[in-house]
Symmetry: C2
Subunit: 433 residues, 2 copies
């Protein structure tokens, strides 16, 4: 049952497309515990608790799917100003599990809040009484299977008992591993910044490998900061920064029932109070949050199911950002573009097809397409010095950049995706076996 910390630093950790992830250490006010509730019938970690001893301000964005998982319904009902714990399980999405799935969470919240209150009493002279509604849940895995309530319930005491108040890179990595499904790599990112003169940490972990075509939020991503910021402001910051990060990625064009992106701020940094998103003291934090989200979002794509290439699609000079995104997503979700890139085939005609099918008006006489620095289409025609051999060579890179210039306006959007390989089919045609 013990985790071998050395294994966490195995070659698998390395992402040749994205580079290694950063080492996360301690964020004041956050405690972590990761164990195996045997949900996979192996001994891998599958249940992770984040515990905020003095509570945390928080904000979340959730999937826009018309069918939402029970944990998202639960989370949406909790209106507490402070959250004391986030509990994440993998293997089972708790989606389409009906009232039983929901009631299971209620019972788990009651048990966890009781156990955490007991722990507070042991550790502290002046404890808060933690309430069930101060617990949030993240769930990910198969849709429609009965929620493994008993296994999780039986694991809650151990989960609480194992809480570590001081984190280090191993504990963070263990947590990031504990929320994975078909992911092959843990996803962690961090940045630091200042609010006023106060040093602030922003740490994050994410999981996600398939069913990834974001619509508001996508997959699971959790951000932890020691900044002191009110819920309303956290919500605005999250909404603003999700647009060009988690809402700019697509693996397979499928949107999950369980997408959840949350930020928790413990306030331990004691920064100056900020109430307004346009406060100049927030500029650095805003940028650092974007950095962490983008880093995590890219790692999700880079580890997209079966991925062998990381693809960046920059669509430039559209009338609106919406149009630029539509074209970018049309290219990113095209199975024919993705398989051509998997085959290292410079079949740029499929990019043209995908631009056309997006349905956005373009200036065909000026349209330009580049692969990396290589011009393919220029002024709406095959570039006169186009050499297929050069592009073929370029296609061998683990990261492919496609730039499309539409020439109808001034708005850009960048989409991140990956290729479509045999491995994707293999993973998804026997996911449950």
């Amino acid at each position: 049952m013990g985790i071998n910390f050395k294994n966490l630093l195995s070659p698998k950790r390395k992402d040749t497309k994205m580079g290694d992830y950063q080492d996360l250490d301690h964020v004041d006010g956050v405690a972590i515990s990761s164990i195996s509730a045997n949900l996979y019938n192996t001994q891998r970690d599958d249940l992770v608790m984040f515990y905020f001893r003095d509570g945390a301000n928080h904000a979340s964005v959730y999937t826009q799917s018309k069918i939402r998982s029970e944990n998202i319904k639960w989370n949406l009902q909790q209106k507490s100003k402070k959250i004391f714990s986030l509990i994440v399980n993998t293997r089972n999405a708790n989606a389409f599990t009906g009232i039983n799935g929901f009631l299971s969470l209620q019972k788990l919240a009651e048990l966890a809040s009781m156990k955490l209150t007991e722990k507070q009493k042991e550790d502290d002279n002046n404890p808060d009484k933690i309430k069930p509604k101060q617990i949030l849940f993240g769930c990910t895995g198969t849709i429609g299977e009965p929620f493994p309530y008993e296994k999780i319930k039986n694991s809650i005491p151990e989960l609480v008992h194992n809480i570590k108040y001081t984190q280090n890179k191993y504990i963070w990595t263990k947590a990031a591993l504990g929320i994975m499904t078909t992911d092959t790599k843990p996803k962690l990112a961090m940045d630091e910044c200042k609010i006023g003169n106060t040093n602030i940490k922003i740490y994050g972990i994410a999981k996600g490998s398939g069913m990834i075509h974001p619509n508001m939020a996508t997959t699971l991503a959790y951000i932890f900061t020691d900044a002191d910021l009110p819920n309303e402001l956290l919500k605005n910051l999250l909404k603003k920064n999700v647009t060009n990060t988690f809402n700019a990625i697509s693996c397979d064009g499928d949107t999950s029932t369980n997408d959840m992106l949350s930020i928790f701020s413990t306030g331990k940094a004691n920064n100056p109070k900020i109430q307004n998103i346009s406060d100049n003291k927030l500029i650095e934090f805003d940028q650092a949050l974007n950095n962490v989200l983008l880093n995590l979002a890219k790692r999700v794509v880079s580890d997209g199911e079966g991925s062998s290439k990381f693809i960046t699609i920059k669509v430039k000079n559209c009338n609106t950002e919406k149009n630029a995104k539509e074209i970018g997503i049309s290219i990113a979700n095209s199975s024919l573009v993705k398989t051509a890139i998997a085959g290292e085939d410079p079949n740029w005609g499929r990019v043209i097809m995908a631009i056309g099918k997006a349905g956005v008006d373009i200036n065909l006489k000026k349209l330009s397409v580049k692969f990396g620095e290589l011009k393919i289409v220029s002024n709406g025609k095959l570039f006169e010095k186009y050499e297929e051999e050069q592009v073929k060579e370029y296609m061998k890179n683990p990261s492919i950049d496609i730039e499309v210039d539409i020439f109808t306006g001034t708005k850009d959007f960048t989409v991140f995706t990956m290729d479509l390989t045999n491995e994707y089919i293999k993973i998804n045609s026997d996911y449950r076996s």
Copy 2:
């Protein structure tokens, strides 16, 4: 160079999912010629001419992609009441080939119309002079490669010389084979009906295997009838009947630059004149045309790239047909649903995911899902007598029927698609090598 007619009836012809295709024979006023212009650098047929000796009324619907192939641009410019020939080449889409691609077609139309006029003089005492604008083109294959004008030009004399005035099943099959790209099977269909007391034939061929997510028309499909119907009426009939046939299929969610569906009516049957689509004498023809289009559309899906299963998705009782189609297409285009079916995994949770992501309001309390006759979800819950083993057994069928009941209205829509296999990846990651 000669075609072995016996090979046309090889086991490959059999479609285990759709059954064998019908035998087409003669339609008065239609002549056919199929040869190899060596566009594949093999000797397979790749150039097909349909010749209407006394001209044909006609109508077409084309792709709604914002980037259209040069042959579609050409066709859209021709306003002749009568068409004398349709020339179809495979291997090259003549898309994104610029003004050269267009001018090539103009020169080919000049040459073909001259050669056909010469032929008329030989065969006939009172010939029409055929004009370049009375020739239409169908092109399919790789986008963006230079159009093989010389090869096709050099083949026109032989193409005209080989014209057969009387067709039989071999000649039709040869033509259907001659327009294929990655298709593994020729696609033919027919029906017969009456207009008034006159017997009418409706014959059709189609090709298409990838880049198939229809938007108005899709892929190449050509319908030939001896009925006498005016162009305006043909157009209305085509638009009406494309909705639940070619616009109800999806293989990979990609829309081609070259989609083209045409009907040619030679008028040789001498049926009573009809001017109005609501004329009762058209009822049988309308239904028979739908039968032929649906038969061909299903054959396109059944032979979709790498397909191992034919999938029918019926979405029932929506507010609008548009909503029903959105849900159907969302399921049909989900890589996760398609790979699960390929793996014969009854992972119905992915169907739920795809219903949710369509963004259409549903009555979750009543939602029902069936695989074949097996109830999976009933009244918004997993059916109480659901037995995974039964559904697993059902998934082994070559054809899978999914029925979704939304319970918000009275409108239905049925979508046809196929599964997503390793073979799809294989075909599309080295299409051009």
